[in-house]
Amino acid sequence: MDALMDRRGGLPLPHRRFAPRLVPAPGPKPQPVAPTGTVACKGCNRRFVTERYERALRVCSLCGYHGVVPATLRATQLADRGSLHLADFSDVEDRDPLHFNDGVAYPKRIAEARAKTGLREAFMVARCLIGGNPIVIACMDFGFLGGSLGSAAGECFARACEMAVAENRSLVAVCTSGGARMQEGIAALAQMARCSQGVSGVAAAGLPYISILADPCFGGVTASFAVQSDVILAEPGARIGFAGGRVIEQATHDKLPDGFQTAEFLLAHGMVDQVVLRADLRDTVARLLGVYSR
């Protein structure tokens, strides 16, 4: 921890008071009756007036916990005001190669996720400016089937990469995902290669690619485009890795070290470039692109 503090110039790190939960609490948590117009922090349970919580970008002022941000809101938070234009990928078709049914047919699950999130897929892609720099931004939505990577999501990301190359824009991806979408089987695995191909194209064009890792980010997403960027930024407390902590604990019976797989842990192990407070993400991306693209 001392080393981390030093690296950040000894600045107070309010989020450090939040000890990330490694193992999800079993079963549904008893929910206190919510006063209307308030929202509870998932880190400390403190309630905030919704408006104030949103203004704070869904970051708890008490414990620093960074709450989940859906894709469109995320893009709005990062983009220069009024610059965001969603890409129309309505022709991207979803597939059900296995005719998968685990009690609910997979196409029905997709339809439910669409209704719930208002998105077509786990990826939302848009053109925007960040600090005046032209960007293609690709944001994942954890609310859409756990941000899982299936063939339609993979196609969205591949198109985002091609759009960046065609229009000479930098690429920014906000990654939050449980990994490959199991319901699509081997076709989901192939998306890791498809997305990597997209990143390779952006790199060949000499364009900057910055990835922002948000809680949680695992599996085939981390093991492909999320970490193939020029700069990897991570939000405080975000859990990031290949295999989930619970899986590792069950498989190895080892006790997980404190803060295992958190953004801060990965920074200490040399795996991410910076842990950045959500409020500072926009400026950090703008500053980096200002240097890279001139």
């Binding site: 597939r95 190669p97 296995l98 998968f100 049914n101 685990d102 063939s151 993979g154 591949a158 449980g178 490959a180 199991m182 319901q183 699509e184 089987g185 081997i186 076709a187 989901a188 695995l189 192939a190 998306q191 890791m192 290669a193 498809r194 990597s196 191909q197 997209g198 990143v199 390779s200 194209g201 599996g219 085939g220 981390t222 093991a223 492909s224 485009f225 999320a226 970490v227 193939q228 890795g241 290949f242 295999a243 899986v247 590792i248 498989a251 190895t252 080892d254 997980l256 070290p257 295992f260 797989q261 192990h269 040399g270 795996m271």
Partner: protein
């Protein structure tokens, strides 16, 4: 579509038997394939960063045609081990980050010498553990994928018996991907899929039926190009026969790929993975 519970249960058992067959200890393993297909193979160890991962083996060799013509190749593969001792030593074929970084080193070496790369896939998954995460398992796999996509020599991969998760894909991004007929190639091992989909690893047979893990499924979506036939009931009854067939396929594929100008080959590889998985 309604099916009787007994019939479903029987189908699930059959699906899992296919998984067990693919994991049969008598199937051709990577080192056995290397011994049977190549000559003068010299094993190269270590990733030059942390250590040597015995779940991944690799080194340069010759692939000899029946006419006696010798072709230089770089061979990299995942080795599961044969008996209790070697299986433990090789971590059941589940690589750590240093295994993927050793593979990257040898891939770059192949490109330096302009010799084709042959990857042999045989892993249930990349290792899940504390050390693997600390040393960047996801980073190692992601970098291997990019290395293969951009590698300026022909690449042929073979799914020998079991290809599971990004840990397998990391050695299976290639110009041509072959698979032994009864191999499985899956997004994750059926046990893991069951844990994720049904929150119960015990329902692995159900996952095995639902996921159609046979390599033929990967062939249908274009991730695998050619299936190498196996004798009944599987390669374990005549491994040498299967290895000989595989060697023939490798020779044909290398002849085919080495005749293509490298820029054309790379463009075709890019197109292939741009549309991977439909």
């Amino acid at each position: 579509m309604t099916r009787s519970p007994t019939k479903m249960a029987e189908q699930e058992r059959a699906a899992f038997r296919a998984v067990e067959l693919a994991r049969h200890p008598g199937r051709p393993r990577t080192l056995q394939v290397i011994a049977g297909c190549f000559s003068d193979w010299t094993e190269l160890h270590g990733d030059r960063l942390f250590g040597d991962d015995l779940a991944v083996v690799g080194g340069p060799a010759f692939l000899e045609s029946p006419g006696g013509e010798r072709r230089q190749v770089m061979v990299i593969g995942q080795e599961k081990g044969r008996d209790a001792e070697s299986r433990a030593l090789r971590n059941f074929g589940m690589p750590h980050p240093e295994g993927y970084r050793k593979a990257q080193r040898l891939m770059r070496q192949a490109a330096k010498f302009g010799i084709p790369l042959i990857c042999l896939v045989d892993t249930p998954a990349a290792h899940a553990g504390i050390g693997a995460e600390e040393r960047g398992q996801a980073w190692a796999i992601a970098e291997t994928l990019i290395t293969l996509l951009e590698l300026r020599v022909p690449v042929v991969s073979v799914v020998l018996s079991e290809g599971g998760s990004g840990g397998a894909l990391a050695l299976a991004v290639a110009d041509r991907v072959l698979g032994l007929e009864q191999a499985i190639y899956t997004v994750a091992p059926p046990e893991t899929c069951a844990a994720i989909l049904y929150r119960d690893a015990g329902q692995r047979a159900r996952a095995a039926l639902a996921l159609r893990p046979g390599v033929a499924t990967a062939c249908e979506i274009g991730l695998v190009d050619e299936l190498i036939p196996e004798p009944q009931p599987g390669a374990h009854v005549h491994p040498e026969m299967v290895i000989a067939a595989l060697r023939g396929s490798l020779l044909r594929r290398l002849d085919e790929l080495c005749a293509i100008p490298i820029e054309e080959l790379l463009a075709a590889r890019r197109r292939r993975y741009r549309h991977a998985g439909g």
